[in-house]
């Protein structure tokens, strides 16, 4: 008898636990609306600056309370996915990286704000910045942290090799690399971030578009395995075989590229905005301070003949409102404030604005005066950004990208030929797009 009661007890307790889990508590908002904003720690504006902006915003909008939360970049994607799984979502407003947009739109995380974009915004914000937040012609937020890859070179090494100008084409770069290597200035003149990660795709897309190629064709089918694509990958492999590309590039991320470049062991590197300040001005971090030059990213001769001036990769982020958020209007209002011309100009110490108009005249001087790095990078940004290519907006992008990363790595480790590897990735891409 007592044995049975005990079992009943266990079952009851388990049922209780499960039912406790099942019931949902509803809470009606009272008083001012609270919006929870999720952003990235480090890079761009500091949490302190963000807090200051949020305080300004709350003073102007006493009925809205802003709660800020930050996480490291690596955690953001996973945290957003888990947060959006609960109802109401844990965040009303959140920061989205460029390759996540299509995925998040398909998953229904982001609200369509196309109707809320003013004509002034359309006209004055960089066209390539809109590429970031647009999926299938609809806008899902406003651009925030605008970034792209830049071409950096070591002025001193180039001078010692007898070159006064950085290369304009990749062919020219190889000629310079040959001299640099022969003179024994460095062992491997160029270093890349070709590790099995999104970083590899960023370098690859930059090269591909510089060779007159495209990621997808007009019908949205993969085009990266056509002649331009195979040529590009073959060129990458060849530079490694010839000893111009650092062979460790296959295992390197952007940070490794910065380290090697900061060691003075590379003459050329592609990297994001952040590298310039640290490599050129920070003696604690770099052994090549004062030697770093930045120029438009070269293209291939073939690309140049087709009229490609330069080619970079768009690595920007934006802010969007959660579709399931009960506070859509308040969330949007905050994003608008955050990205307004006035706020962006005043808080430009750690982040460049999305407004094209701010890169002219007195405003440009103001941007350049923010830091020694900004003095160079503000104009370098506005020169390069019009050539920033955006990666395909496909919901299955992470999976398609992983297949392409594998293809690049298989070719670079010589397990497959460039043609075979890219064909396989293209087939995978096609299969994913038809699902």
């Amino acid at each position: 008898m007592r044995k049975e009661t005990k079992w009943i007890l266990i079952v009851t307790m388990l049922t209780l636990l499960v039912s406790l889990v099942g019931c949902q508590s509803q809470q009606q908002p009272t008083g001012p609306v609270t919006i929870r904003v999720f952003g990235m720690d480090q890079a761009a504006m500091t949490p302190e600056e963000m807090k200051a902006i949020a305080d300004e915003f709350m003073q102007k909008n006493p009925d809205i309370k802003v709660e800020l939360e930050f996480a490291a970049y690596d955690a953001m994607h996973d945290k957003i996915i888990t947060a959006m799984a609960s109802t109401p979502p844990s965040y009303d407003v959140f920061e989205v990286d460029d390759p996540w947009y299509a995925e998040f739109v398909k998953a229904g995380y982001l609200v369509d704000v196309s109707d809320r974009i003013t004509d002034k915004m359309k006209a004055d914000v960089f066209k390539t910045a809109w590429d970031v937040v647009t999926v299938d012609g609809k806008v899902y937020g406003l651009p925030w942290l605008l970034d792209q890859k830049y071409f950096f070179y070591n002025k001193q090494i180039l001078q010692q090799a007898g070159f006064n100008e950085p290369p304009k084409t990749w062919e020219e770069l190889i000629d310079q690399a040959k001299v640099i290597k022969e003179k024994g200035l460095v062992e491997y003149p160029i270093v890349w971030s070709w590790a099995q990660a999104e970083a590899a795709i960023c370098d690859w897309v930059t090269l591909l578009y510089g060779n007159g190629g495209t990621f997808l064709d007009k019908d949205g089918k993969p085009a990266f395995n056509n002649e331009a694509g195979v040529q590009t990958l073959t060129w990458m492999l060849q530079t490694m075989e010839d000893g111009y590309t650092n062979p460790a590039s296959i295992s390197y991320l952007e940070e490794d590229v910065r380290n090697v470049f900061s060691q003075g062991k590379a003459a050329f590197a592609l990297n994001w905005n952040y590298m310039f300040d640290l490599a050129n001005f920070n003696q604690q971090e770099s052994q090549v301070t004062g030697q770093v030059g930045v120029a438009l990213i070269p293209v291939f001769k073939k690309g140049a003949e087709m009229g490609v001036v330069s080619s970079s990769i768009n690595g920007s982020m934006g802010f969007g409102v959660a579709a399931k958020s009960p506070n859509l209007d308040a969330g949007w209002k905050f994003i608008e404030y955050l990205t307004s011309e006035d706020v962006q100009l005043r808080y430009s110490a750690h982040m460049l604005p999305m407004w094209q108009t701010l890169f002219q005249g007195d405003n440009l001087k103001k941007l350049e005066s923010a830091s020694p790095a900004a003095a160079v990078m503000a104009s370098a940004f506005s020169a390069q950004f019009p050539y920033a290519n955006v990666r395909p907006r496909a919901a299955f992008y992470p999976e398609g990208s992983k297949a392409l990363q594998l293809a690049l790595q298989l070719a670079l480790t010589k397990q497959k030929t460039p043609q075979e590897a890219l064909d396989e990735a293209a087939a995978k891409w096609l299969e994913l797009s038809q699902k």
Partner: protein, 299 residues
């Protein structure tokens, strides 16, 4: 007879009462998520949501079983598991034995063992990534100065070598666990047993094989089971050191599950994958228990 029976019943009731709190905590937290995951494994889910959209039966499972990438990943995971656990066991047993022989400085050695274990996995990963670096890593620096290599070697660009180096990073972190568990078990072996054998003229190797090893069997079993189950699901260290590269050379089954669930948003697929993993780990555990577990052995 009657009295015996009731006493036994009371014992059983007490036993359940003692186990109940543990069971409640374990099941209370994991039962619902495990069931959810299990159910989701038979469904297609909307991208990145745990909302089932379409019942697909066992097709997620079959898709994986038909997929060569899945089997290549299983093979790599088994390689990781067997090599790392075997090395851990051999090294751990050796170190445990060494400590128990009380050489000069054994106390220092014992305390030192905690250190690698206490380094957080995430730091461990970054530390080894930095050590292995081709252009500024300590490994290249050291080997060059010792004259072992003439040029800096890009260690992590060959898939198999990258896997072996990840294993080295992992066992550095986990050998102490095995060593300490075995050492604790050795410490509880009555000295009289060995002394008797020594008097009988057994060599120290004979004493080790005939007396200690059988007595250590339960501890070896538990270390093997725990480490294998953990090694088979290895994730963190790979995520940090190689991110699965080069060319998928270090993608293990948990990493694949992570890609499916978090990167690709295929939660149904990820759920099916995790149950396939649990089949493998159960198989591993079964094999160990079958061959090593002897409940009746009691000194």
């Amino acid at each position: 007879m009657k009295k015996q029976e009731t006493l036994r019943q009371r014992d059983i009731r007490t036993a359940w009462m003692l186990i109940l709190p543990s069971l409640l905590i374990i099941l209370g937290i994991t039962l619902q998520p495990i069931l959810t995951t299990f159910i989701l494994s038979f469904f297609e889910t909307s991208q990145g949501q745990i909302v089932p959209t379409e019942f697909v039966g066992l097709s997620h499972y079959f898709n994986f079983i038909k997929d060569p990438i899945f089997w290549a990943t299983i093979k790599r995971t088994l390689y990781f598991t067997f090599v790392s656990v075997a090395l851990e066991l051999v090294l751990g047993l050796g170190i445990a034995q060494l400590i128990n022989s009380h050489p000069p400085g054994w106390k220092f050695l014992r305390t030192s063992l905690i250190i690698p274990w206490a380094v957080p996995t995430i730091v461990n990963g970054f530390m080894w990534r930095w050590i292995y670096n081709a252009d500024y890593g300590a490994l290249n620096g050291l080997l060059l100065q010792l004259g072992v290599i003439k040029h800096y070697v890009p260690w992590l660009i060959a898939p198999q070598r990258a896997m072996n180096l990840v294993i080295l990073a992992d066992i550095w972190h986990t050998v102490p666990f095995v060593a300490l568990i075995l050492q604790a078990a050795l410490a509880t072996i009555p000295e009289e047993l060995e002394e008797a054998a020594a008097v009988d003229g057994a060599t120290s190797w004979q004493r080790f094989v005939r007396i200690r090893l059988p007595l250590l069997r339960p501890a070896i079993l538990v270390a093997l089971v725990i480490r294998s189950v953990e090694a088979f699901r290895v994730f963190d260290i790979i995520y940090v050191t190689t991110n699965g590269g080069p060319a998928f050379g270090t993608v293990t089954i948990s990493f694949l599950t992570y890609l499916e669930t978090f990167s690709y948003g295929h939660i149904g697929n990820g759920s099916a994958l995790s149950f396939l993993i649990s089949l493998f780990t159960m198989g591993l555990a079964y094999i160990y228990i079958r061959f090593l577990y002897r409940p009746e052995v009691n000194p």
